[in-house]
Amino acid sequence: MNHLPLIIKREYLNKVRNKSFIVMTFLSPMIMIALVAVVAYLSQINNDKKRTISILDETGVVGEVFENTENTTYTLISDTGFETAKELVKAKKDFGLLYVKKSSDTLNLVESVNFYSDESPSVSIISNLERKIEKRLSDIKLQNDGVDIAQIRASKTTVNIAQETFGGEKTSKIDSYLKLAFGGAAGYLLFMFIIIYGNMIMRSVIEEKTSRIIEVIISSVKPIQLMLGKIIGTSLAGITQFLIWLILGSVLLFLVSAIFGIDLMQIQSPQQDMINQAMASSEAQNIAQDLITGFVNLPILNLCVAFLFFFIGGYLLYSSFYAAIGAAVDNETDTQQFMMPIIMPLVLAVYVGVFTVIEDPHGTVSTIFSFIPLTSPVVMLMRIPFGVPIWQQLLSFAILVCTFIFTVWFAAKIYRVGILMYGKKPTYKELFKWLKY
């Protein structure tokens, strides 16, 4: 008799109806959004703070380079001594006073520039002031040496290397960032999914053991059916949670940004920053175009299909381990020693993915790791956006499937024996013996 659908349904409903699951599902995106909103709001307050900086320039050289910006107003003070200026600034409640002392060598102001304020200023304010003074002084020096500043300005050039594969596909830096973002997100998502829902499976196996219902259940169904039902049911619950997060997250993000009028581009991830920098160094219009073509150039279909298959394959591979561990122990504290061998290859996969795939997506290390079944789902998902030959993907997936079949068989053996074993914590040696029961 095939009870698999029944078991899947129960496991799914049991997870989804669980109070902590519901709370987690609806609360965590709120918390995330709230966090983002708070951070954004705070940084905005910080940026919005208007400052007035007074400048007392006794040299008469640097004063005029300070132009007012949105947040900072510069006021030049003249015809007063230093002490009076200080009193004046204090009375006006300005942020601070920049004092450039008269010096014998006007062009060497190393020790004659001071900044006075109530609160100590941030590094960025000071370095901003320094930069301005330095630039002004070097300009003057250059002029004194008879160099035409305008000419120097004109000589500045920017280069943007256009990349193209031999196959004729145009690529660009942005393209690479985009690929990296997609691959990284896919790999990381799988990693998180395995850890979160693998643990959930393990706990539910332990729960069946400790509540002793297991013997009643397996007098009705085969242990492997129960195990697979558990894995699939829990995964479906996980996918449900992810979908809800995705929908809820985007709706909330949209709402928050609409209400608070926060420019979301300002608070993006590091990758986004890189793109932003790239944007700054090139013409914005070109960038936008590059982004679009880059997106179109991504092997979207390949990416989606591969994501689906490697995600499922990798997830099933690891979750069968989790189920076996749950069956082998009596309570969660005993799981530690068995968790290490599972977490290690996962973490390794993410590190390999992050460090070698970025450096060289088709290098030896990343290629090898995209074939080893324990790391291949994560590493391959990270590589695929950079274009992996189909035969490699198929081979890697075939290896994954073979391993998966083996591990499920292996896990089912341990599961079958383990769920009926109570009392002491088994050793690896004993687990090995169980395979022969």
Binding site: M1, I7, E208, S211, V216, I217, S219, S220, L420, K436
Partner: protein
Amino acid sequence: MNNLLVANSVSKSFGDFKALNEVSISVPKGSIFGLLGPNGAGKTTLIRIINQITMPDSGEVLLDGLPLMPMNIRDIGYLPEERGLYKSMKVGEQVLYLAQLKGLSKQEARERLKYWFEKLEIGDWWNKKIQELSKGQAQKIQFIVTVIHRPKLLIFDEPFSGFDPINASLIKDEILQLRDEGATVIFSTHRMESVEELCDHIALIHKSNKVLDGKLTDVKRQFKTNTFEVGMQSDNPEEVTRIIKEKFEVFPATFKNLNDDIKLNIKLPEDTSSNDLLSFLTSKAEIHHFVEVIPSANDIFIQTVKNN
């Protein structure tokens, strides 16, 4: 004889440990079969093999004359010693789920569950979670789970543990009624008084081997020692006792009675009948109490286990 379940030379090892050694039992249709044995003797392993939870290394188990098949799970109801239900699942849902796993349709399961809820007077528990019930209440649910699919063969492992006397007797009556309705019951317990009360066949497993089996009355006949418990009154009890001791093997006896001077267990040789003893005694003293000593299941259990 018409046997529902037959196990032929079933053996099972776990690594180096032999849990069952060539064990054969026959469970007659419509009987209550006591599966006895000390802790760790192999009873649970045998029960798990019957339930197809574990596979035997050798030997076979026949149900209704046919080897056990996966489809037979719906013919068997099993109440394990280590009970358990999903703690956070609601009673109604849980029983429906477990009944469906046994092959009932949802509709069927729902109707039967209502019947049992009324019968055991637990109508308003449908939406309660197991963790909200007392241990005894949960046991009742577990009992329903075991019998709801009307199996031919019911296996109860210590069914009365955790029940108060009222509920224990309620469950006992239910078991007897199920038997009367045609079910066969395998009953594993350490409580010999319930074996005495319920079982008509027994098998005793000790250290992985079956050491004893048969009809309870046959086993008792096999174990009886031709001993009689006698209570008498006499003017000269010492003298009478001395004369009896000369002729027969005698042990002291303790039983409650109104001022009997002489209380003895008298073991007769093979060729002597109870009438011979009676006529011998009537000439010596006034007999108030005369009964054959029948070994209790408890005695048989202890004696068999000690001798092996």
